[in-house]
């Protein structure tokens, strides 16, 4: 019903609240308890704290390249809240809220963007693939996971993320097509944050919107306001229902805006205007949800500060764990490539260790 009403051919966008958090579309407001909304609000603040601090640690030279999430938190928070432990998360790299809700800790995120593969292990988090750097390539994995879930008759759903730019890659197409033919339980969420680095969506595709690409695969697609927690939550719940009923994948286009730089090495002033940035900051997802909570009497503006203070402390502790992480060992370069390490590789390690000994001896 939702998918029919918001048929992407009409280019309508599901929106539940306005920029101030007023409910403008009660019909589609998800039926969830206040506590969950409150939790989500807090969590978005937590994720934003991790994100902002990551950027600032990077600026201080204490971490390497990092892709800010600022402004996109509603999407992966709403989806993350829907994820069950048996569900799969197939990430791109800009849906940190989902990572955290799946069980990653801030230290993992620091470790990964701090340049250590151990940050991709996510020991405590089941069914969670590491971040895939080559754009859209991870979506193929989501299709395969979907097939395997069906094959094994497991009750799981796959949540796959990618960006607007990803829709141009061949892998995007193949993945959606495979998942659709296989009726695999995969929810593909495109975070349409308007840009792929410096390239605006209009240079990426001539299609009416991104959700309409679902028609090429015979699956439902829906365009939602990605800065509206309720809209994303609603669309995703319906998608989960659809796919769990055995109907195959769903494509969600979540319209949002990357308020920060593409990564810490990017300079957005080269390709977008301050007006554009300003217009979007009006639609900030945290601000909007706070507007809603305010109006419902669920939150006082004064509660923000102590909350953020607490989060900051927590994140600082996590960062300390990262900064005190054991040094990268020679074995760490070699040991994980194969289950059974080939002789050649062993010898390469041994020879390298000989060099290290020689170097040591020089001192």
């Amino acid at each position: 019903m939702l998918f029919e009403e918001y048929d992407p051919r009409d280019d309508k966008m599901l929106q539940v609240m306005d920029n101030d958090g007023r409910i403008i579309n009660p019909q589609w407001k998800p039926d969830i308890p206040d506590e969950l909304v409150l939790e989500a609000y807090k969590f978005m603040n937590f994720a934003r704290t991790v994100d902002l601090m990551a950027v600032s640690y990077q600026r201080q030279g204490r971490m390497y390249t990092y892709p800010p999430n600022l402004g996109q938190e509603a999407i992966s928070t709403a989806i993350g809240k829907l994820m069950r432990p048996q569900d799969w998360l197939v990430p791109a790299f800009r849906e940190m809220s989902a990572w955290l809700l799946k069980g990653a800790r801030p230290r993992d995120i620091f470790l990964y963007f701090g340049g250590h593969e151990d940050g991709s292990k996510f020991s405590g988090a089941p069914n969670f693939l590491p971040s895939a750097v080559p754009i859209a390539s991870q979506l193929q994995h989501a299709a395969g996971i979907g097939y395997a879930i069906k094959y094994k008759k497991q009750d799981s759903v796959v949540f796959a993320f990618s960006g607007d730019g990803s829709t141009s890659e061949g892998d995007f197409h193949e993945a959606l097509n495979f998942a659709a033919v296989w009726k695999a339980p995969v929810i593909f969420t495109i975070q349409n944050n308007q840009y792929a680095i410096s390239v605006p969506v209009k240079n990426q595709t001539a299609s009416l919107n991104l959700a309409i690409k679902s028609l090429a695969y015979g699956i439902p697609g829906i365009k939602v306001d990605g800065n509206d927690f309720f809209a994303v939550y609603r669309a995703s719940s319906e998608a989960v229902q659809h796919t769990r009923a055995g109907n195959g994948p769903v494509l969600i286009e979540a319209v949002t805006f990357r308020q920060g730089a593409h990564t810490t090495s990017d300079d957005p002033s080269l390709y977008r205007s301050q007006e554009e940035e300003k217009a979007w900051s009006e639609k900030d997802p945290i601000k909007r949800l706070r507007g809603y909570l305010d109006s419902m009497g669920l939150w006082n503006p004064g509660d923000d500060e102590p909350m953020l203070e607490e989060y900051k402390n927590e994140v600082e502790k996590e960062f300390a764990v990262y900064e005190n992480y054991p040094d990268y060992k020679v074995e760490d370069v070699f040991q994980y490539h194969y289950k059974e390490m080939p002789e050649d590789l062993k010898h390469q390690q041994i020879n390298y260790e000989k060099f290290l000994n020689w170097k040591e001896a020089q001192k």
Binding site: Q140, Y147, A148
Partner: protein, 328 residues
Amino acid sequence: MSSQVMTMVQALTNALDIKLAEDPDIVIYGEDVGVEGGVFRVTSGLQKKYGVERVFDSPLAESGIVGAAVGMCAVGLRPVVEIQFSGFAFPAFNQILAHVARMRNRSRGRYGAQMVIRMPYGGGIKALEHHSESMEALFGHIPGLKVVIPSTPYDAKGLLISAIETDDPVIFMEPKKVYRAIKQEVPETKFAIPIGKAKVVAEGSDITVISYGAEIREVQRAMIMAKEKGISVELIDLRSIYPIDRETIAASIKKTGRVLSVTEGPTSFGAGAELISIAVEEAFLSLEAPPTRLAGFDTVPPLPKGEHHYFHTPERIFYEIKKVVEYY
């Protein structure tokens, strides 16, 4: 142990059959592998026997075939996928290099890519463009993969079973020229040949020839000519080009002092270069002649009318053997 005379195609089918029967985590898919049983019929009869959920046709998209397998492995399946011809593996190259080969390291051992990517390769069968290539060196250069190439029905079965059972991803290249060309007694029950161990096909004293796949038979023919001229050739069938069996190579060269590699793919940056390097690294002081490579030209394999110039005839191999043996 009862055995049966089999072609390589039959031996491969038999290996798949055995593994499908014993391990429910194995699924087989690719283009035309279901109803039709593959264009070379390697999966013939398997869909009927194991059902469409375990043996099935995928859409026509190699990146999708390989990429989906990466996901399946994460859930614990062991996919054995077919790329219709090795010349069509390249749309999947990014998935192979970026994910199949790397998932284990990236996830620090948490997720593996316990899959086999089967593909007929090699030329000399008068085929269309892109149906004759031998680009195994490209896979050999990608860290994280194993690359296996059988030359006989017996080896094909034993190696495929090992490939399916290893937890590392294996590029399994099948010499289509051999598919039906030779028959051999192959045990009907399960057996495995370890990956990474070369086979000394024939012992000899004057020169070591290193080869694999369909070239083995051509070398064997050349060896008949060599024998007539009194040249004793030791023939090594690598069976696996990564990992490569340095020990067997080294022992042989130390004995013969001379070595020729015979491979089909382009010369430059090819498998022969790796074999020469190993010869030099392992047996420099034993070398009585420059280790030599006979490889394909740095050209694409010509269409059928020009094929006889490209693929190595026994004469051509003999000619190179002679040159190496006559050096000084």
